[in-house]
Amino acid sequence: MTHKGTATFIAQRASAVALLFLVIWFLWGLSAHAGAGHEEMRLWLSAPTGWAPMGLLIAVGAFHMRIGLNEIIDDYIDSGMRGVFKLLNLFAAVGAAAIGLGSLYLIAA
């Protein structure tokens, strides 16, 4: 994170504020749909009030978790392997977001 410390610091906190609201929505959604079957779950996430916050939760969550894991990598991984771990971190975060968002698109379409 050389020369990008301040921007990363702000990005992590801005995404945290967004996630605060998205997590509240998500926990509400989990309780409201606990035990629901396939059809009811699909119906929930096919409406804009379902797929929009869920998509944001997955996208902003992936953004936030990548910064967080990069910080852990900076703390505990010696410089030689750092780049490799950070690249794997990027792939995992983008991969999780792509699978989640792509699937939401299929559900909503």
Partner: protein, 132 residues
């Protein structure tokens, strides 16, 4: 690059086991641990949405696993991690505004975050289980 570090004398972060136990240190470590766990949780959430999109035949076994005792345990861990990381994140944001950083307040808010996240997680998961 290890020799660079040695010559510049820059330390790595001290690891878990060298700290004396305090509520504030436990909250700090738990924030990192729940953050790492939520990384896995987000991947699982994406896989769940993927299964939901694939149709009943793919979704049913996953829904069945979530409903099993092991599944409920994982779900409880995920919900608690979400709550702890979110509430402790609020604590961090409050500190970032320059407030509540004295030892007494930090200790009290650490206990509060542990207690509130645990109680809320139990309430949410228990109500979900009883709703089925």
């Amino acid at each position: 690059m290890a020799s660079d570090r040695a010559s510049s004398n820059r330390p790595l972060s001290p690891h878990l086991q060298i700290w004396r136990w305090t509520p504030t240190m436990a909250a700090s470590i738990s924030h990192r641990a729940t953050g790492a766990a939520l990384y896995a949780g987000t991947i699982l959430l994406s896989i769940w949405v993927f299964a939901l999109a694939q149709g009943e035949s793919v979704y049913a076994p996953i829904a069945g696993f979530i409903g099993s005792p092991v599944g409920v345990l994982i779900l409880f861990g995920y919900v608690w991690a979400l709550l702890f990381h979110t509430l402790n994140g609020l604590r961090h944001l409050y500190w970032d505004m320059g407030r509540g950083f004295d030892i007494e307040n930090a200790r009290r808010s650490a206990w509060l975050v542990f207690l509130a996240s645990l109680v809320l997680a139990i309430v949410i998961v228990a109500s979900g289980v009883s709703a089925r």
